[in-house]
């Protein structure tokens, strides 16, 4: 067997492998997307019969504890807390956890909300870093507010501290800098009231990009298509993920991720599972996977509910540097989560979770960027060694690219069909044109950042990396929102 024959064999195997992988990936994504249509339709029809205001005024509505971790968010914290206190829901407490900020967040909060340190007995159902103090307001206007000041332990630790302090049966974990829709809480809570034999353990909604949108006094007043390329591109990504992917998984009851930016959880199950893991930077996904795993092992009927309405608006990275850090962290979080729960991989004991959800995430979400990255390297090597059949290779690349365009176009159509935010022809055209650039500009960067995340894992790199936010476009007093805030509590997916 000659050397050139072996190389040719490797090349053929490589090309065939890429093709087969691409086909599997396409079929999976397309299958999930098409499967999502029925659920989307059902939700649209169901909404006709839903009057959320009934819930807002009912004394039988469940009580909620909102937990908002904050780290170095001093410049925007007052406005963010005000926005949380103004949430349209009758019975809730707002717990802001200052996770050892190095800035003057605590002082600002104390002054703005007339806080005083109180003796507070905490039942440590989940172990956390030391809590330095619990603060409550002297002003009865802010009696819903509890501020926990603790030593730095990361977002998960801060959320766990909030869970320990919370007194209600349902917890709402939210990023302090998110902007919620007026009826977001009502929509998220309703599934818990609809449960009968199947226990609802968590609910999440659609996250949307708020860059360029107008925010007034903590409320989103006007949705505007993102003017900058990166946020617009991420907007398209979010539409694909939330409108197609999560909806389909929700219908299958195989959803593994409730966005860390906004999710409601059954506190009893969260505590039984040990709360958020501090061993991963993908704590939002890890918690959902662990809760599901726990209930599978207990052989309990349960579901994770997904609300296909835009409920929460967040600011997306608008520079490649920050975007890269974010995707690096997501990659590490995904790897860590899947590694922690590797026992479920094709394990029939975990039913759909083990046989479908986990393998999908493993092969396509975790493996996809690796296949693309190494595929590209092999492609260059083969090109340099003159082994490439250019016609075929270019056709294969075009085949994959046009699939991506089709998928994006379908996501945009579903967004329009479901009457979400972008209703102008110009906005839709912008999204379509943006999607055409994705394979050449945005996507390669995402793949590289993700692969760097995997490499960082081997270099034992931990932590979130700093996220710099620009702040929303405000029409209210400019002092309430930062122009630039450095935080590491801003995960958006």
């Amino acid at each position: 067997m000659s050397w050139s024959y072996i190389v040719h064999l490797i090349f053929t195997f490589f090309l065939f492998g890429i093709f087969v992988y691409a086909i599997f990936l396409m079929v999976s994504y397309l299958g999930i997307s098409l499967y999502s249509i029925g659920e989307t339709d059902k939700y649209i029809h169901k909404n006709v019969f839903t009057d959320f205001s009934v819930l807002a005024s009912s004394s039988y509505a469940p009580t909620l504890s909102i937990i908002a971790p904050a780290y170095n968010e001093g410049k925007g914290i007052v406005e963010n807390v005000r926005s949380l206190l103004a949430i349209y829901y009758s019975s809730l407490e707002v717990i802001v956890v200052n996770d050892g900020s190095k800035d003057d967040s605590m002082e600002i909060l104390i002054n703005a909300y007339e806080l005083e340190k109180v003796d507070y007995f905490i039942h440590y159902q989940i172990s956390t870093e030391n809590v330095k103090g619990v603060y409550k307001s002297k002003n009865p206007l802010f009696n819903k507010l509890i501020v926990v000041d603790k030593e730095n332990g990361g977002k998960s630790d801060a959320l766990n501290a909030g869970i320990n302090v919370s007194t209600n049966n349902y917890i709402v974990c939210i990023d302090a800098d998110c902007v919620l829709e007026q009826d977001a809480m009502l929509k998220m809570v309703k599934p818990f009231l609809e449960q009968t034999d199947v226990r609802v353990i968590a609910s999440g909604g659609v996250l949307r990009i708020a860059n360029s949108c107008i925010v007034e006094n903590g409320r989103l007043v006007k949705v505007i298509m993102q003017k900058e390329y990166l946020p617009r591109m991420q907007s398209l990504e979010y539409i694909r993920a939330f409108i197609l992917g999560r909806m389909g998984w929700s219908r299958l009851n195989g959803l593994l991720l409730i966005s860390g930016a906004f999710g409601v959880f059954d506190k009893e199950i969260v505590i039984k599972c040990g709360g958020y893991s501090t061993q991963t930077v993908g704590e939002d996904m890890e918690l959902v996977v662990r809760m599901r795993r726990y209930l599978e092992e207990q052989k309990m009927k349960y579901k994770v509910v997904y609300i296909p309405d835009p409920l929460c608006w967040t600011e997306a990275p608008n520079t490649f540097k920050i975007l890269g850090r974010q995707r690096n962290r997501w990659a590490r979080g995904l790897y860590e989560t899947l590694r922690m729960h590797r026992r479920m991989f094709f394990n029939p004991k975990y039913r759909l979770l083990g046989m479908l959800s986990y393998p999908f995430w493993f092969f396509f979400e975790l493996g996809g960027p690796l296949v693309e990255f190494f595929g590209f390297i092999f492609f260059i090597v083969f090109a340099l060694t003159g082994m490439i059949d250019w016609n075929f290779s270019l056709l294969l690349i075009l085949f994959v690219i046009f699939f991506a365009y089709t998928y994006s176009a379908f996501a945009i159509y579903m967004d329009v069909y479901t009457d979400k935010e972008y209703k102008k022809r110009k906005d839709v055209l912008q999204l379509i044109l943006t999607s055409f650039t994705e394979p050449f500009y945005f996507h390669p960067y995402i793949v590289v950042s993700t692969v760097r995340g995997y490499f960082d894992l081997f270099r034992k790199k931990k932590g979130w990396g700093e996220m710099t936010r620009e702040g929303f476009t405000q029409t209210s007093t400019p002092t309430t929102k930062p122009n630039s805030v450095t935080t590491h509590a801003g995960q958006i997916s």
Binding site: H45, S58, V118, F121, L395, F402, Y417
Partner: protein, 356 residues
């Protein structure tokens, strides 16, 4: 796998993209058209309402809107939009204006349209038809709506149940005698909301609540207890107390909540007797409900609870003890002196709470 296959694949994708884009812009166009029609309908109907004179009060006849408006109704989509608009107006207007809207709904043949939709096999069309009929006060449709209170489809049966209450108030609660499916908490909230729009019917509640409290359907029991709670049916105290021994945990929880609302001098002791038999969350609920009804008589029990292994239960018991007994806070202070962790912190927590 060859080049031709890939080319064919690419062609399929390009074709799909063109089709999807055509659908997208088509959908945008239709939505815009609908929006324009909606605005037109809204304006027309509002103008009509402002001048809407009942032509013949006895025969329930109103002056019809413009001819152009009527012509639109030939189109089933626009007919549905008109119904939607009428329903939206019905929600905002009262008195004669609301009555005129109902008369117009019938006069334009939209009631027949709704009745026809009730025969649909699509759940959302049928549920929508029920909703339209009850919101437009079509009592003649009551028997047809009632047939659906046990529908296999949750949305149809929910709308039917709401519809019955909407049309005949407390009398409509008789559906509780026949339903096999569970009433979700959400549905119970909606039913209570509907009932709140009617004057209390003592007779029905007095006659039927005892039966519902013994229903084989635990959600009917829970709903009945909410009725007891909402309408202060003190006479049902014993029947509700009997629910404390129900095997379903949420039923027992609701029983505690309801008994708290219709409490008497024995309620606190009843809760104490129940406490040890309960799950953790029901124990918490008992303590929450005990907070404002406990007296010095319960202090012995509460002092015992300070030894509970669970810290949350300890804290709740301590809070009640401090409130119900003049020496409760002293007891906590003393416990803190004997064993600093966790009692000292609990004492300070409660003391601070009481001072605020």
């Amino acid at each position: 796998m060859n080049e031709n296959t890939l080319i064919a694949g690419i062609e399929v994708f390009i074709f799909s993209i063109i089709i999807i884009l055509a659908f997208t812009y088509g959908t945008l166009y239709i939505k815009k058209k609908k929006f324009v029609y909606q605005k037109y309908l809204h304006k027309n109907l509002e103008d009509w309402l402002s001048t809407g004179i009942i032509e013949d009060a006895d025969k329930n006849v109103v002056a019809l809107p413009t001819l152009k408006f009527l012509l639109l109704l030939k189109n089933p989509i626009l007919r549905q939009l008109t119904i939607n608009e009428l329903l939206a107006l019905k929600r905002t207007f009262w008195g004669d204006a609301a009555k005129n809207i109902t008369v117009l709904y019938v006069q334009l043949g939209l009631k027949d349209f709704s009745l026809k939709k009730m025969k649909s096999n699509k759940w959302h069309v049928k549920a929508r038809a029920i909703q339209e009929l009850y919101l437009m006060q079509q009592r003649e449709a009551l028997p047809r709506i009632y047939k659906n209170v046990n529908s296999q489809n949750e949305f149809i049966r929910m709308e039917a149940q709401i519809g019955i209450i909407h049309l005949i108030g407390f009398d409509g609660l008789r559906f509780l005698n026949v339903i096999d499916n569970k009433l979700t908490e959400w549905q119970q909230i909606k039913l209570l909301d509907q009932l709140s729009k009617f004057p209390l019917n003592e007779d029905i509640l007095a006659a039927d609540i005892p039966r519902w409290l013994k229903s084989p359907n635990e959600t009917v029991i829970m709903f009945a207890m909410k009725l007891v709670d909402r309408y202060h049916r003190y006479s049902e105290y014993d029947n509700v107390a009997a629910c404390l021994s129900h095997e379903v945990e949420p039923v027992r929880k609701q029983a505690v909540n309801t008994l708290h609302r219709i409490q008497n001098e024995n309620t606190a002791q009843l809760f104490i007797a129940q406490y040890d038999k309960e799950t953790y969350f029901n124990k918490l609920n008992i303590l929450n409900n005990l907070e404002d009804i406990a007296t010095e008589k319960e202090s012995e029990f509460l002092t015992r609870l300070l030894q509970e292994p669970n810290d949350t239960l300890k804290l709740r018991a301590a809070r009640i003890l401090a409130k119900c007994h003049s020496k409760g806070l002293k007891t906590l202070e003393h416990a803190g002196q004997l064993q600093a962790v966790p009692y000292q912190q609990i004492y300070l927590h409660i003391k601070g709470e009481m001072a605020r």
